[in-house]
Amino acid sequence: MTEAPHNDTPALADEARRRFLKRAGLTAGFSLFAGSALAAGLPKALDEATSSERRWGILVDAGKCPEGCTACVDACFEEMGIEGPRVGDNHSRPDQDSQWIRKVSLKNEDTGHALALPVMCQHCTYPPCVDVCPTGASFKRADGIVLVDRHVCIGCRYCIMACPYKARCFVHEAIHDQEPYMPRGKGTAEGCTMCVHRIDHGMKPACVVACHEEGAGAMTFGDTNDPESAIAGKLRDNTTSAIRADLGTEPGIRYMGI
């Protein structure tokens, strides 16, 4: 890496680029290497459409996630602009504010074993919120990220009721000073976007970045379809599970040690 890392494409891009160069070097002697960005695990070009050949996911190591640490939650609130002062009128209660990610504490009463883990939109392969949406606002991108298209959301809140993970929220009040990269508004459902605005620029989600830099490094983000990615390796080498796996939603967020 001689070139200075560009602001737009740190982390993921660098990891992938290094692998790309390594692999390119290995194969150069044998064949003309003209692989696409996808083949090399590089982030997609800005005007390239997402494809199902990628499947973004996050692995949470619950054993590493300390009780009381809220680095991921704080980062999410900061990045997405989910804070009290941005709300225009003040008619609703703080407990009605959006929570795109929350720390959930669990305790086995028999053994006394306790753990805390972050729970956000699980980005299901078979998302119930998409099944129930009457307008098609709730949808799954080709790369597995589940989003709300607020342009067509009518605020019926079916998705909020359907989600077994309580991951969807409703915006009750007018909001001002939104972040330009994260439009949010009154009368629509919303939830974790897996920081799609960052992923499309080759960056990791805010919670994962914060978990590594301020927290305990319990979260791994990556393309689970890329066998060489860190997350695919961890999923291969460890016993992992999904929350409410019995529902068959096949989440993109998986947990280790629960």
């Binding site: 890496m1 740190p10 997609k44 459409a49 991108r141 342009h151 330009p180 009154k186 620029h201």
Partner: protein, 142 residues
């Protein structure tokens, strides 16, 4: 029949007047012209992403097209995005800060107020430029 024609022709004239007035409003020199809006000059750039008459007629369709591409396919090239509009066309208020869509001075409002169009982009979208990510990775590569 005659009654019908009687209603439509003044309407048509009125529309023609408004369209002409909007076209005339393109240059600040025409600012004083009765109903023509005083469209603020772009802050930077030589020309818009498309010729001005094309933009005037089609900007809404371009934004909608881009919106669906970005939302559903993740295509985030900035050229035809709302953010790009703000980059050049945002207007500064008397206090030196960019005015939001709540202000009459906001670029979008200047024409929309005249044409009695009320787009609701800005109930969700930011109406000022900027947009540095709040959470920046301290290590550039990891």
């Amino acid at each position: 029949m005659t009654g019908k024609r009687g209603i439509t022709s003044p309407l048509r004239t009125a529309i023609a007047v408004v369209v002409l007035a909007l076209a005339a409003g393109a240059t600040p020199a025409a600012a004083g012209d009765d109903i023509a809006p005083d469209v603020p000059e772009a802050r930077k750039g030589e020309h818009c992403v498309k010729p001005v008459p094309y933009m005037r007629r089609n900007h809404m369709d371009m934004l909608k097209h881009k919106r669906d591409k970005t939302m559903h396919k993740g295509q985030r090239k900035k050229k035809y995005s709302l953010k790009r509009c703000m980059d050049c066309h945002a207007v500064k208020g008397d206090d030196g800060d960019f005015v939001t869509a709540k202000s009459d001075k906001h670029f979008c409002n200047v024409c929309h107020d005249t044409a009695a169009v009320n787009p609701d982009c800005f109930s969700c979208h930011a109406s000022t430029p900027g947009g540095e990510l709040k959470v920046q990775s301290k290590e550039a590569s990891r």
